[in-house]
């Protein structure tokens, strides 16, 4: 078994128009910038994929990563909890112009919907959002005398995520708080592609320390020295790079 994919372009080649794509990360931490940029490269040369539904906690920052994907017009709908950032203009302008749909989900509900999607649980009840605008039209039931809101699972066609180390079996470990949504999204997508900073031999990751077992991962691509969104933004970067 070998899940290693030799290039970023091959890693994203199977994502079709209209796909639901989960993108890992919380802000820039754990965001698979290189996989996102590979998707943009493919779109610029082939016109595909487009009309994507993207699931991410945020809506991008600046003009790189998820913001760049939105800036290209590749995203039809965004499912997220917090579409604000230091520089949210790319999303904000398209949203206010009615060019992109937003499904706003409380952060813990977003995480649990993805977890449920990966665990084969179609619905669950949560106290979060009860009595608020975000619970509108959702069924409510009482348990032990308290009201809870029914929420549905969230699944995806593809997940593109970022991990620290991975092996050819797809076992992954993450780096610090860059873990965030990445392990959940790996479980909830039909196909999960992980970019890893380092590919290691099977056995090099202590089995006690594996965070995402390889069963949840279909492809692993190595990106040594991955970019950090925060560093790119501080340098005023945009993707694709603007001609001087």
């Amino acid at each position: 078994m070998d899940k290693i994919i030799p290039s970023l372009s091959e890693a994203v080649s199977g994502i079709p128009d209209g796909a639901v794509v989960m993108i890992g990360g919380f802000g820039g931490s754990g965001a698979p910038i290189e996989l996102i940029h590979a998707l943009i490269d493919r779109y610029l040369s082939t016109g595909s994929p487009r009309n994507l539904t993207v699931v991410n906690n945020n809506a991008g920052n600046g003009h790189v990563g998820l913001a760049a994907l939105i800036e290209q017009g590749m995203v039809r709908k965004l499912i997220c909890s917090f579409p604000r950032s230091a520089d949210p203009r790319v999303f904000t302008e398209r949203y206010l112009a009615g060019e992109i749909e937003l499904e706003l989900v409380p952060q813990g509900t977003l995480a649990e919907r993805i977890r449920a999607g990966g665990a084969g649980i179609p619905a669950f009840y949560t106290p979060t959002s009860y009595g608020t605008d975000l619970a509108k039209d959702k069924p409510v039931e009482e348990f032990d005398g308290r009201p809870y809101v029914r929420e549905l699972w969230l699944k995806a066609d593809f997940a593109i995520i970022k991990a620290h180390k991975g092996d050819r079996l797809g076992n992954l470990v993450f780096n610090k708080a860059a873990r965030n949504f990445n392990p959940l999204m790996a479980t909830a997508a039909a196909v999960t592609i992980a970019q890893v900073t380092e590919i290691v031999e099977p056995g090099a990751i202590d089995p006690e320390a594996v965070v995402t077992p390889g069963i949840f991962v279909q492809g692993v691509v190595e990106v040594a020295n991955p970019a950090q969104e925060e560093d790119l933004n501080r340098a005023g970067a945009a993707y694709p790079e603007k001609a001087a």
Partner: protein
């Protein structure tokens, strides 16, 4: 002492109620300041939604690790005993009743304990983050806020006029003028600035203040 507490002083007062060993989530922005004012000998364990328990202070500029940030996307540091976990575990800690205290900002707090702190109305881009999750599950949900808005309107009200974050969730409010508990659908005054009469305070509060017992002086050091 000036006629009202500064944001820093409100954060200091809220910090005095955090017990040693408490698990605490501080909302992004203003509430993050609370961490700086833990009383001597009290060590809380801070939780952040993006998957860290027991993180340390901000690093020096230039030493940031952008894989080590808090929910406000600000860089933090490791401490001995830090733990990382994914987002579903993080919110299991929140909703599952494992946090002792959540301290949040507010646009409005109602006497029923309803909180509005995520949306100022239908204009612009809505964003909720973890606010609606945090108000459920923590044993105490405290709010730190100015007592009135910039225009002088009460932020403590009978019913919230802005979109709700949660229903009957706030247990205590630390304001620039007073410390007020929410009990049985009422505001109960516990502490107030000594320079202020109860009537003065009531005049700046949008719902009835109950005073069933002694009211302590709210005394905070100059910071």
């Amino acid at each position: 002492m000036s006629s009202k507490l500064s944001a820093t002083q409100i954060a200091w007062r809220a910090a005095q109620d955090i017990a040693d060993g408490a698990y605490v989530n501080l909302g992004i922005g203003f509430p993050e300041m609370v961490a700086k004012f833990q009383p001597p000998g009290c060590e809380a364990v801070f939780h952040t939604e993006n998957g860290i328990l027991g993180f340390g202070e901000a690093p020096r500029p230039g030493e940031e690790d952008w894989d080590l940030i808090n929910a406000g996307k600000k860089a933090v540091t490791l401490k001995a005993g830090t733990a990382f976990f994914h987002h579903a575990d993080s919110f299991a800690m929140v909703r599952g009743g494992h946090l002792d205290v959540a301290i949040l900002g507010a646009y409005e707090v109602a006497e029923t304990g309803d909180l509005a702190n995520w949306s100022t109305g239908p204009k612009g881009v809505p964003a909720v983050g973890g606010a609606m999750d945090l108000v459920h599950g923590a044993r105490r949900v405290a709010v730190i806020t100015d007592h009135v808005t910039k225009d002088g309107k009460p932020k403590l009200v009978k019913r919230c006029s802005l979109p709700l974050t949660g229903v009957a969730c706030v247990t205590r409010v630390y304001t620039s003028l007073a410390v007020i508990d929410v009990e049985g659908g009422h505001f109960v005054l516990r502490e107030k600035l000594p320079s202020l009469s109860v009537d003065d305070l009531q005049a700046q509060t949008g719902a009835e203040l109950l005073v069933p017992g002694p009211v302590a002086d709210l005394v905070v050091p100059e910071l």
